[in-house]
């Protein structure tokens, strides 16, 4: 019954290329609150899908892993509940590899995936083949680009599995990047850009806050990219991305659903076995770690919004490296959402804020940690001061009790059962973790690791990342409203830790 954090939605927004479904439902189908695949308004599909980034925590994972001779990792999960199968390919690409000169090209590439290749002469033909396999763009097929992954998938009737594998292999192995198709798609991506910029809240979280948090390498967190770079993109740049990243030893194939083992593997070998391996893209060009935020920065932005959004954001742990700490912040997000938490009581129940929460976006290259609130203009300043006080208390180990800690742990474990009900959902979750960490260990060990975290370790994690750490304080407020006085709110801090309005 809780409202999904708008912050989570804004941040996890992944660019999707195939089709943004704005349609109402044409046949009675699932449209659970916060879980619907097809929403009544545009944007909802990609947003709701993206919400699932926490790993499933079942320990008895029954997946199989085989690695082809070219290095392609193939994960299979049998799920015969319905005669459908999801075929998904994940590539370690995304914003995290992007320097300013290629800012947004991982996303543009993802759009170009749906176009001509050596076997399919045009996008029209591409879509015709999907039609023949009973695949509807949107619900049955899509692609997502995020900071640390690019995922392409379709869910089709199992009888088309062999053809589906061949079709995906053709698209990934030999795209053509025709000049005219690229020129058109650049405009389409700019259309997506326009829609993103029409939402002040999305721009605030994705650009304004993130740019200050990761100022040295912001492009490595900026999935949507730069207009100028997108408009100037060439087929040569696309081919360069292909040769660097779209190689089997930088990708993983996931097959989840109902399939016949005897025909599956020959099909995979036949279609993906010929994919030529390449040099590990991260050996020659290692990804730099994001430098720590040296000093606190605060800013207020006026925009045509009705309510104020205020955020205090920190740099957090690295998924796949600081695993206990990453999981600790996942637990914190549950604990701070509890109605009985001081966070909810003192911010929301008190009437200061209409919503308040915490969100940890698990990433290999530094997870951002966000405390945020939404409040009416007249209460935003006081609400922020209260939020700041609550964060300080958390950093000092206050407001945390064993009961809430255990509740969050049990909740996480129990809810993991839901992840595997939908094959498509499950495949997307597995691929997301694989992309960031290169394996599924984080996924499979999640529950046992979580259970092993003690309350002291949990408090230590909070202390390590929050106590006396520099942060980014940002506010998005209605036009005409005075800036949030971050300085007044943090008068107990040393002046040299504050850089107002930077």
């Amino acid at each position: 019954m809780k409202k999904i954090s708008s912050l989570g939605i804004c941040l996890l927004l992944c660019a999707c290329a195939a089709k943004e479904k704005s349609q109402l439902i044409t046949e009675p189908e699932a449209n659970l609150e916060g879980q619907g695949l097809v929403g009544k308004l545009p944007n909802e599909m990609q947003e709701t899908e993206s919400m699932n980034t926490n790993p499933s925590s079942f320990e008895n994972h029954n997946y199989n892993l085989k690695t082809l001779s070219n290095g392609l990792q193939v994960y299979t999960v049998e799920k015969p509940d319905i005669p459908m199968v999801t075929i998904l390919i994940a590539v370690k690409n995304g914003a995290f590899v992007e320097t300013p000169d290629i800012d947004g090209l991982a996303h543009l590439y993802e759009h170009m995936f749906f176009k001509a290749n050596e076997q399919v002469p045009s996008q029209a033909e591409f879509i015709k083949i999907l039609d023949e396999m009973g695949v509807e763009l949107g619900p049955n097929m899509n692609a997502y680009t995020s900071t640390e992954s690019v995922r392409y998938f379709y869910t089709l009737q199992s009888r088309y599995l062999d053809r589906g594998i061949e079709f995906l292999a053709d698209a990934v192995k030999a795209p053509k990047f025709l000049q005219d198709e690229l020129e058109n798609e650049r405009k389409v991506v700019i259309g997506e850009f326009d829609r993103y910029e029409a939402s002040p809240t999305q721009v605030f979280y994705q650009k304004d806050v993130m740019e200050k948090m990761f100022s040295t390498y912001f492009t490595r967190k900026n999935t949507i990219g730069s207009r100028e770079v997108i408009l100037a993109a060439t087929p040569e740049q696309m081919h360069s991305i292909q040769h660097r990243f779209y190689i089997p030893n930088n990708a993983a194939l996931f097959i989840v659903g109902a399939y016949d083992e005897a025909t599956l593997w020959p099909s995979i070998e036949r279609n993906f076995g010929t994919w030529e391996a390449g040099q590990d893209p991260f050996v020659q060009n290692p990804i730099p770690e994001h430098p720590a935020i040296n000093e606190t920065q605060t800013f207020t932005k006026n925009a045509e919004v009705q309510n104020a959004n205020v955020v205090q954001a920190y740099q957090g742990p690295k998924q796949g490296i600081d695993n206990k700490e990453s999981i600790s912040f996942d637990l914190l997000s549950i604990m701070l959402g509890l109605e009985d938490s001081a966070f909810q009581k003192e911010l929301v129940h008190s009437g200061l804020a209409s919503n308040a929460g915490f969100f940890s976006w698990s990433q290999r290259y530094t997870s951002p940690l966000f405390f945020n609130l939404e409040a009416s203009s007249d209460k935003a300043q006081v609400a922020y001061a209260k939020m700041k006080e609550l964060i300080e208390r958390l950093a000092n180990g206050q407001d945390i009790n064993e009961k809430d800690f255990e509740t969050a742990k049990i909740s996480t474990e129990v809810r993991s059962a839901y992840d595997r009900e939908s094959g498509q959902h499950y495949a997307l979750g597995l691929a997301d973790v694989w992309s960031s960490t290169g394996a599924l260990d984080y996924y499979t060990n999640y529950v046992s690791l979580m259970k092993s975290i003690t309350l002291d370790e949990f408090k230590n994690s909070l202390r390590k990342y929050l106590k006396d750490q520099a942060y980014v304080g940002g506010a998005l407020v209605p036009e005409g409203q005075a800036p949030i006085d971050f300085l007044l709110a943090q008068k107990n801090l040393a002046p040299n830790q504050i850089e107002e309005g930077k």
Binding site: A30, L32, E136, T155, L156, Q157, L338, N355, A417
Partner: protein, 436 residues
């Protein structure tokens, strides 16, 4: 496995508990999931016709978990979080529902709470005040993006002078009129023995189900079954309604009346809308790069509608292409091969929509709420298979007309002229309004 082999209704039984209808699908275990997931959907018939105050439905459903006779909101939240229960309550135009997904082993902890939520919620005044403020905040935020403004303005235009105008979420000027008495009245009208339907999917026997439902819901009071609204809106299709708004791109929606799911026209219109959707993607996005997002869609409500949607910096051109495609389908024929391919795509979606227990519960509920009967929930693909090209053309002519048009964004110029030129509006008139 074909659709015939994969029968959603196989194993489904219906019975009553204390006069309350129950639909149960005692499924087997989910492959590879060791814990049993159970989905329970409690439906109450009637939606916006239950109250004259727009917004009361949303406030009502939000207040259900805020406090009950013996549980504080903190305790309710703690139980749901600890058990991992996913509980959502929502009010729509035609029904109110509480959907619960949880592991079977936690039902003894979760059901007592749900029982009190729908029988003895407290509607505490201080909580009501808080919820109203949060609703006000949400409604204000709705004005932040052109997409949500488009949806809002189209709703207000399309349902002007119709009971559905009073949408479940309400409006800024209506929600503060909602009182505790309104909520108490809604409770009596909704969750009574003669107005509810239980749908349960999971590994539960009939005996187990009867015992649990009787224990926790057997003492719901008697009442009346709510009669649904069937009257179609009288929409204004004479002009384009323009809502200027600062935005990098302009948003357009056209909405048309559509038959509901049980109608003989519905299968043909479903396929026609889908074919049009594919054509729009191809013509507007792929070939001309006029947009990122374009669609044609059809709903599944009792008072049903369909819509055409696009956002573009070259809106007149994009709108022109959309309506030219509509005309082509009204004049020309689609091949049987095209129809068959669409049916196959519906079959894929049909399977996917039956994958989870919660989605099965929703489908069975919907067929009951629409008055079609859950037994017919398997027939949709068979109905689609009978559609031919004559029917596609006929529904395109019959329903893609007399639409309502809304534009939100910086530039409406040229859109009315384009619609007039193609014969969709009589005069190229624009009515402008500031977004409040």
């Amino acid at each position: 496995m074909s659709e015939q082999e994969f029968d959603l209704t196989r194993g489904v039984v219906s019975f009553s508990v204390k006069e309350m209808p129950v639909i149960l699908n005692n499924t087997g275990p989910i492959h590879d999931v060791s814990d049993e997931i159970v989905a329970l959907r409690i439906n109450a018939f009637g939606g916006v016709n239950l109250t004259k105050k727009a917004g009361a439905l949303d406030i009502f459903t939000k207040m259900l978990s805020r406090r009950t006779y013996s549980y504080s909101k903190e305790k309710i939240d703690e139980i749901f979080t600890r058990t991992g229960a996913s509980v959502s309550a929502s009010g729509s135009f035609e029904s109110i529902s509480v959907t619960i997904k949880c592991l079977k082993r936690f039902l003894p902890e979760v059901l007592p709470v749900i029982s009190e939520m729908i029988r003895v919620p407290k509607f505490d005044p201080s909580e009501l005040s808080l919820v109203l403020k949060q609703q006000e905040s949400d409604l204000r935020s709705e004005m932040d993006t052109p997409d949500s403004v488009l949806g809002l303005r189209m709703h207000q235009l399309y349902f002007k002078n119709h009971p559905y105008f009073d949408r479940p979420s309400g409006y800024l000027d209506t929600i503060n009129q909602i009182t505790r008495d309104d909520l108490a009245s809604l409770l009596f009208k909704t969750f009574n023995r003669n107005n509810v339907l239980f749908v349960l999917i999971g590994s539960m026997t009939e005996a187990e189900t009867k015992a649990e439902l009787e224990r926790y819901f057997g003492n719901l009071p008697a009442g009346n079954r709510t009669i649904e609204i069937r009257e179609q809106p009288k929409n204004d299709s004479s002009k384009v309604y323009d809502y200027p708004m600062k935005s990098p791109t302009t948003y357009f929606m056209a909405k048309f009346k559509a038959p509901s799911l049980e109608s003989d026209d519905y299968p043909a219109l479903s396929i026609a809308t889908q074919i049009l959707d594919n054509r729009l993607f191809d013509e507007v996005r792929t070939k001309r790069a006029l947009t990122y997002s374009v669609s044609s869609s059809l709903g599944n409500s009792l008072i049903n509608s369909g819509s055409l949607y696009v956002s573009s910096t070259k809106l007149p051109e994009a709108v022109g292409v959309i309506f030219e495609e509509v005309k082509k389908m009204q004049i020309g024929r689609v091949t049987q091969e095209t129809i068959d391919m669409q049916v196959n795509k519906f079959l894929s979606s049909w399977f996917l929509n039956r994958e989870t227990r919660a989605s099965q519960a929703i489908i069975l509920s919907l067929y009951e709420i629409l008055g079609i009967g859950w037994e017919n929930s398997n027939s949709f693909i068979k109905r689609l298979e009978k559609v031919n090209s004559d029917q596609i053309q006929e529904v395109m002519k019959k329903y893609f007309r007399d639409m309502s048009y809304v534009v939100v964004g910086p530039d409406v110029q040229g859109v009315p002229e384009k619609l007039h030129e193609l014969g969709f509006i009589v005069q190229p008139n624009v009515t402008s309004a500031e977004v409040k």
